[in-house]
């Protein structure tokens, strides 16, 4: 069942002339984990804002086409209704901390206070979400005393506590160090496994390849390509554009040029690469390999 349905969406920001999104058609089913990749300026952030309702309600500007997310349609709903269904997180954790609360526990409850959740339910939800995101031990700390990774997890938790139907994440690990990145991805993966619909904009191709159901490649405001991670990351279209390339794929391509790669498919994950390379490095039955080695163009020939 499609929880996101964008039909022919074109959007232009108020002070610019050229559209940030052109004729976007995108459907996401409930429980799907969709990754969005693309170069800078491709419209990835604009897409996130559109899914969360801030385009057009916050930014104004011109929007054509229909945007349906979690049962709300863009022209019929207000931003306030929209945010109940869609959680949005971005790169900079510092900007996502409200500043209005002195402890993490209260910070998480902030959103629930705003929407009028009764006190007992508030406390229960906060405790649950802290466990879910692994930050229970941070409950009494000040949000401003935390590391980047911890802050980002608090930001995620403060959105998850509102129980949105969809989680939209715009490069949540770009400003994290490796530990922070791992922590944040851990939470996202957990949510996806629990059935949350996730739309994630990311550059870390290897991780997406492992966990995403589908990848959408954006360029110049349009959908360049859509498909499974394997399809998208090994496609020549994406390779030509210069983004979305996994190191494993590059390594395998290089090996293929050198005549080492045996499989038809190029790998996008570590496991696939390991399998492919161990295949490549396993010697063939003696007679066949000697003959082949002397004939293949870039052979290892000794």
């Amino acid at each position: 069942m499609a929880i996101v349905d964008l039909k022919d969406v074109t959007y232009t920001y108020p002070t610019t002339d050229s559209p940030a999104l052109r004729n976007i058609n995108l459907q996401v089913d409930e429980g799907e984990f969709v990754a969005v990749i693309g170069p800078n300026g491709a419209g990835k952030s604009t897409l996130c804002y559109t899914l969360a309702g801030f385009v057009p309600h916050f930014f104004k500007g011109e929007l054509t086409g229909t945007v349906e997310v979690a049962g709300s349609e863009s022209s019929q709903s207000t931003l306030h209704e929209w945010v109940l269904n869609v959680g949005l997180a971005f790169q900079n954790p510092f900007n996502q901390i409200s500043g209005a609360k002195y402890t993490v526990f209260e910070e998480l409850a902030f959103g629930l206070e705003n929407i009028g959740v009764p006190r007992d339910e508030m406390k229960a939800r906060v405790v649950d979400v802290m466990e879910l995101t692994g930050i229970s031990d941070l409950a009494d700390r000040s949000p401003y005393s935390l590391s980047g990774g911890q802050q980002q997890r608090v930001a995620l938790a403060s959105i998850l506590v509102m129980q949105p139907k969809i989680l939209v994440l715009d490069e949540p690990t770009s400003q994290m160090d490796p530990i922070g990145t791992r922590e944040v991805f851990g939470v996202i993966r957990k949510m996806a496994e629990q059935g949350m619909t996730v739309v994630l904009v990311e550059h870390k191709v290897e991780w997406i390849a492992q966990f995403a159901d589908r990848v959408v490649a954006l360029k110049d405001g349009q959908v360049l390509l859509e498909g499974t991670p394997a399809e998208v990351f090994t496609s020549s279209i994406v390779e030509e554009s210069g983004f979305g390339i996994s190191r494993y794929t590059s390594a395998a391509r290089k090996a293929r040029e050198l005549g080492l790669w045996k499989s038809h498919r190029l790998p996008v994950t570590l496991d696939e690469a390991a399998e492919g390379f161990s295949q490549a490095l396993t010697p063939d039955p003696p007679s066949a390999s000697l003959r082949d080695a002397s004939r293949s163009p870039g052979g290892t020939g000794e």
């Binding site: 920001y13 108020p14 002070t15 500043g99």
Partner: protein, 255 residues
């Protein structure tokens, strides 16, 4: 009218205000660090007025002083002055003072007039004569000018130069700032005089002393001290905000 007030308080504005107050404090401290002879502690307030409107500016000023008052109650007492500064900044913004470029000659004129008036003001006070009944007579402008002509001419030239270099094309903003500073000096004087005995515990108290020495009453001395420092300070603050807004990419000006 209530609608207009409400409109000023969008989420963007509410988010801007704490940032603006923090900017007030950060810049105020920077000025001390750079040992500049000014306060410039209202730049955030003026910024909010300019961007979001008079009511938002007024609220920013009031809250900035009340918050600062948690540390130094002295500041809290003048919250209404800061509110007026924010309000006037908002009015200036509505008239486009922060968007238009003023001609350089205007800045020269503003500077010259300001320094001239100031000099006139100071000399009037120091040359005042008080007779036995306590009645003070202030010399007329013509008398002062003829007695101190060279000084006044230097003042006009210096003022013009200051205007040219400091205000540049922010002349409109500068004028609004001058007026705001003047109003601020007047309305803050009663509190300073009555509640705090006429002093701030800082360097300007010497000015108050000087005015007192010339025979002026307490309230008048405080007002005079304010008149010397406030207009200049606010003129600069408004001009800095003008400069900042010119450097903003167009996207962020869309309200």
């Amino acid at each position: 009218m209530v609608e207009n007030i409400k409109k000023e308080f969008s989420t963007r504005t509410l988010v801007l205000i704490p940032i603006a107050i923090a900017i007030n404090i950060a810049i105020g401290e920077l000025v001390v660090r750079l040992k500049l002879p000014v306060y410039l502690d209202s730049i955030g307030t003026v910024l909010v007025g300019a961007i979001a409107g008079p009511w938002a500016g007024a609220l920013t000023g009031a809250l900035a002083n009340l918050i600062w008052g948690l540390f130094n109650p002295f500041a809290a007492a003048f919250f209404y002055v800061a509110a007026v500064i924010g309000l006037l900044a908002g009015l200036a913004g509505k008239r486009g003072a922060f968007e238009k470029e003023a001609p350089r000659w205007l800045s020269v004129l503003v500077g010259a007039v300001f320094v001239f008036s100031l000099t006139m003001f100071i000399f009037a006070f120091t040359n005042a004569t008080t007779d036995e009944t306590g009645f003070t007579t202030y010399p007329s402008m013509a008398e002062l000018f003829s007695s101190y002509a060279p000084i006044f001419i230097v003042a006009i030239l210096a003022g013009g130069a200051i205007g040219y270099f400091l205000l540049q094309r922010g002349g409109y903003a500068g004028i609004w700032g001058l007026v705001t500073g003047g109003i601020a000096a007047i309305i803050s004087a009663p509190t300073a005089a009555y509640v705090f005995g006429g002093v701030t515990g800082a360097g300007q108290d010497l000015l108050v002393a000087a005015f007192r020495a010339s025979g002026a009453g307490i309230l008048a001395s405080v007002m005079a001290q304010g008149a010397v420092s406030d207009p200049f300070d606010k003129m600069l603050s408004f001009m800095v905000v003008w400069l900042i807004l010119r450097s903003l990419p167009a996207r962020f000006k869309a309200r």
